[in-house]
């Protein structure tokens, strides 16, 4: 028994038929063919499937597609605009904050929400993403809204948190 739901993904409304048990991540990946959202652990531990539902980050492998009915969703494919890449995408690239990039979409979408919070709250916020051994300080430097500072010899000053 399939249910008809409407999802607004990256600004475009889609009406799709899903089984009640279909996970949101599978609806996004397999029905809408937006494979930028990844399934890392399937147990809501790793955060690779993180998306924004109404601007709030959520691990889409723990949300049923029917729960997101009528909601507005942002995935990694919706970060860039016609004007160019999102500042976070640019920042991840410039700061070498990714290796294989599998966890990166989730990292960036979580960071989008994180950076909208006021500073003190942001500092205490747990990462919520498990990653490959990418230099964490690079991700954190970027996610804490730091611009990379340079020492006098031109090399970046790396602060380990």
């Amino acid at each position: 028994m399939k249910k008809s739901i409407t999802l607004t993904v990256n600004g475009t409304a889609h009406t799709i038929e899903v089984e009640p048990r279909t996970l949101l991540v599978h609806a996004i990946r397999e029905i809408l063919n937006l494979t930028g959202t990844h399934v890392g652990c399937d147990t809501s531990s790793c955060g690779a499937c993180t998306i924004l539902i109404e601007g709030k980050s959520a691990k889409s492998c723990t949300v049923l597609a029917v729960q997101a009915n009528g909601k507005s969703i942002t995935t990694v494919e919706g970060l860039a605009t016609a004007e160019g890449l999102h500042a976070l995408q640019e920042g991840f690239h410039l700061n070498h904050a990714l290796h294989c990039g599998f966890c990166t979409p989730g990292m960036m979408l979580r960071a989008v929400e994180l950076l909208e919070k006021p500073q003190p709250q942001r500092r205490r916020d747990p990462l919520g993403n498990i990653r490959q051994p990418v230099p964490l300080h690079r991700i954190q430097q970027y996610r804490q809204g730091h611009s990379i500072r340079f020492r006098q010899d031109g090399r970046p000053r790396i602060a380990l948190h």
Binding site: R29, G36, V39, G101, F102
Partner: protein, 73 residues
């Protein structure tokens, strides 16, 4: 000590390298194994024996398997 650093225009030695592959990864355009879709593609499950040392006399596929491509025995 000799400083091995090429000029900024040339890049290379002494400069951090910008990765070419980042562009697709940060836009969700990477192509990972789970993203591959081919005609007639099937998923495989490996069913392991719960016994460390035993003879397999027969095995039967689980009933509610709707479209089983193949089963070894």
């Amino acid at each position: 000590m000799i400083e091995c650093k090429t000029s900024k225009e040339i890049g290379g030695m002494g400069h951090s390298k910008k990765r070419k592959e980042d562009a697709r990864f940060i836009q969700g355009k990477g192509h990972y194994v789970d993203d591959v879709k081919l005609p007639g593609m099937v998923y495989m499950d490996i069913v392991r024996s719960p016994y460390a040392y035993a003879k397999i006399k027969r095995s039967t596929p689980p009933k509610p398997w709707p479209s089983l491509a193949s089963w070894p025995w």
